[in-house]
């Protein structure tokens, strides 16, 4: 039968960009965020690649990518993401960035997922990143799962192994550099992915062309949402002031450096 895999993935500023907070009429945001280069959220991207891999191993599976962001920004990011793996885009035209309330974001995502035509909940695997590179709260996917009534959830996932009987083993990151090993009897389930084990797929123009045939019409029909603040107020938003006065040593010998490092390590 295969799985119906829905991947929730936001878009984030390219990690190498300098970020500066700015307050606008709708609250805090990132200065010039709309013109900063954007990428698919890194952990959510891992989820997408793992979803495609899982779908490839289980015939009859299908992957949907649900993404909330400004339509123009989504289109820009999808031009590159579409070349990686096959999926059907379900875009939601909404605000960008990490400052909107996670509860409201989850409500919009859950409503949209619940309305995907042909999606069978008995075959549903809800994927996403365990935390985003914007809000980084690790709650949105969990809330979406809760709203969809999915009672088996896993976060910080690095691996899934599906067995012949439909059960699956999941490795979740826990404290101290270990994985918790769980076995679930079957779907539906929520998996918030960490890094996973797959390298980023190479660009495939054929996959890109096939994806773009459905992506552009989907973007044109994207539903617009506004997100409730849920009483969330920002008292302050600021950049950390942690610029250090760096001492750069270019002429010390290895022996001198080693002695200084050992003394530093031992000092309280």
């Amino acid at each position: 039968m295969g799985f119906h895999i829905v991947v929730c993935a936001g878009i984030v500023p390219d990690p190498l960009q300098t970020l500066e907070p700015a307050t606008g009429p709708n609250g805090p945001g990132i200065k010039t965020e709309m013109v900063l280069p954007a990428v698919l959220d890194p952990w959510a991207a891992s989820a997408l690649y793992e979803a495609a891999n899982l779908a490839g191993k289980n015939p009859g599976s299908k992957v949907w990518l649900v993404s909330l962001g400004p339509k123009a920004k989504l289109q820009q990011v999808m031009m590159s993401v579409a070349q990686k793996v096959s999926f059907e885009l379900v875009p939601i035209d909404g605000p960008i960035g990490g400052f909107p309330d996670a509860q409201a974001t989850a409500a919009a995502l859950a409503e949209t997922i619940g309305a995907i035509p042909g999606l069978e909940r008995a075959r549903l695997m809800l994927f996403g990143g365990w935390e985003s590179a914007t809000r980084g709260a690790g709650v949105t996917l969990q809330l979406v799962g809760e709203r969809l009534g999915i009672a088996d959830q896993f976060q910080g996932v690095d691996a899934i192994e599906v067995r012949e009987d439909g059960s699956f083993e999941v490795l979740e990151r826990v404290e101290g550099g270990k994985h918790q090993v769980s076995v679930c009897t079957g779907v539906p389930a929520v998996l918030g992915w960490a890094t996973g084990n797959l390298a980023e797929p190479r660009n495939n123009p054929q996959v890109g062309m096939a994806n773009m045939r459905t992506i552009m019409p989907a973007l044109q029909k994207a539903k617009m949402v506004t997100l409730d603040a849920n009483g969330l107020q920002y008292v302050s938003v600021s950049l950390p002031k942690q610029q250090r006065a760096t001492r750069v040593e270019k002429n010390m010998s290895a022996d001198e450096i080693a002695a200084e490092l050992v003394a530093w390590m031992g000092a309280e």
């Binding site: 500023p13 990690p15 190498l16 970020l19 907070p21 805090p28 990132i30 890194p42 990490g98 400052f99 996670a102 509860q103 590179a133 914007t134 980084g136 709260a137 690790g138 709650v139 809330l143 809760e146 009672a151 976060q155 690095d158 083993e169 490795l171 979740e172 990151r173 826990v174 404290e175 550099g177 270990k178 994985h179 090993v181 076995v183 679930c184 079957g186 390298a199 849920n230 969330l232 107020q233 920002y234 008292v235 302050s236 938003v237 950049l239 250090r244 006065a245 760096t246 001492r247 750069v248 040593e249 270019k250 010390m252 290895a254 450096i257 080693a258 490092l261 050992v262 530093w264 390590m265």
Partner: protein, 344 residues
């Protein structure tokens, strides 16, 4: 008037409370004292007797959900336990530690309680109101937030409060019954990376980060991965340091390049890795690019050894940068540590 519930859970052994839970108790005590609010502690454990002793004197009311099912850190049972504790306590503010166990369930619990949640909280302040400090964009922007809606759930990051130490007296535990539906998930245990020793040590004083330079060509035109591995492992074990890595180094394994076999994505520090808390950090053969350095936000003193005099560390991200060959430096450091150990 606010009322506060601190949710706690037992550690892996099952009886004692986790360190993060005891830190959350401290945060709850401080907040309750400031707001003159009533404090309740909730415990999730197989048997809460020993755990309750650990919080003696912390709060007038201690609630517990107990049973074999709660030995496992599992979404369905943990969410049911926390939901029952919240309903019994009827608190307006719920604090808990940002442990993997509670991070997995607490947003769902907040939703069931018709509340809201904020996570990775590093400080709780405010004069007349409650204000929570947390980071956005992977520790690149700091914000202080407040909310009108209640109950407000706050998950507090580990290491931001001292662990509560029990006071005189006994805690009288009210047991809360929870009827669990059938479980579809079973926790089988834990799995560690295939190494001789656990080298991710959250409580270590020093973080040692290995960058991609360790596997690049050295001045003799050759790659010395084996030597790099030996130097790193010797140092980490001798110094009792926690081993971290840059993304570029752990990614090399997936790209068919020479790799250090003991490094996995679990060691990765930075934007798509961890943000550990250590008093000191030493980066080696690492460029100090922003996506990696955001993971150093909570590392106190920082030093780096790099051949690149213009690497990111020199631009205000480290206290000291040694422009030198890390192979040579770490060899000498290991010799000094071995000598020091031998003389003891």
């Amino acid at each position: 008037m606010e009322s506060i519930l601190v949710l706690t859970h037992a550690d892996e052994r099952g009886a004692a409370l986790s360190k993060g839970s005891l830190e959350a108790v401290t945060a709850g005590r401080e907040l309750a004292a400031r707001l003159a609010a009533e404090l309740t502690i909730g415990i999730v454990a197989k048997d809460a007797t020993d755990a309750a002793r650990q919080v003696a004197g912390a709060a007038k009311r201690v609630l517990a959900v107990e049973g074999e099912a709660f030995t496992q850190a599992r979404f369905k049972s943990d969410a049911a336990a926390c939901e029952a504790l919240c309903r019994a306590a009827r608190a307006t503010i719920v604090l808990a530690s940002e442990s993997s166990r509670f991070a997995r369930v607490m947003a769902a619990v907040a939703h069931r309680a018709a509340g809201v949640i904020d996570t990775h909280v590093t400080a709780i302040g405010g004069a007349d109101s409650v204000e929570a400090t947390r980071w956005f964009y992977r520790q690149r922007i700091e914000a202080v937030v407040s909310r009108e809606k209640r109950p407000w759930f706050l998950l507090v990051d580990a290491g931001t409060n001292a662990a509560f130490a029990r006071e005189a007296g006994e805690a009288h535990v009210e047991r809360i019954a929870v009827e669990l539906p059938a479980m579809r998930t079973n926790v089988m245990g834990f799995r560690s990376p295939k190494t001789d020793h656990q080298m991710i040590r959250p409580d270590a004083k020093l973080l040692f980060v290995a960058g991609a330079g360790w596997t690049k060509k050295q001045p003799d035109g050759q790659i010395h991965v084996e030597q790099a591995g030996e130097l790193i492992l010797t140092f980490v074990n001798a110094a009792g340091a926690s081993l971290g890595s840059s993304k570029s180094l752990v990614d090399q394994g997936g790209e068919g390049n020479s790799v250090l076999p003991f490094l996995t994505h679990l060691n990765q520090v930075g934007q798509t890795g961890s943000t550990p808390r250590h008093a000191k950090g030493l980066a080696t053969c690492c460029h100090g690019e922003e996506p990696h350095v955001v993971g150093w936000r909570f590392v106190g003193e920082r030093r780096a050894v790099s051949l690149d005099p213009n690497c990111g560390w020199t631009r205000g991200k480290a206290d000291v940068v040694y422009v030198a060959d890390a192979f040579e430096v770490m060899k000498r450091v290991n010799e000094l540590l071995e000598k020091a150990a031998g003389s003891q």
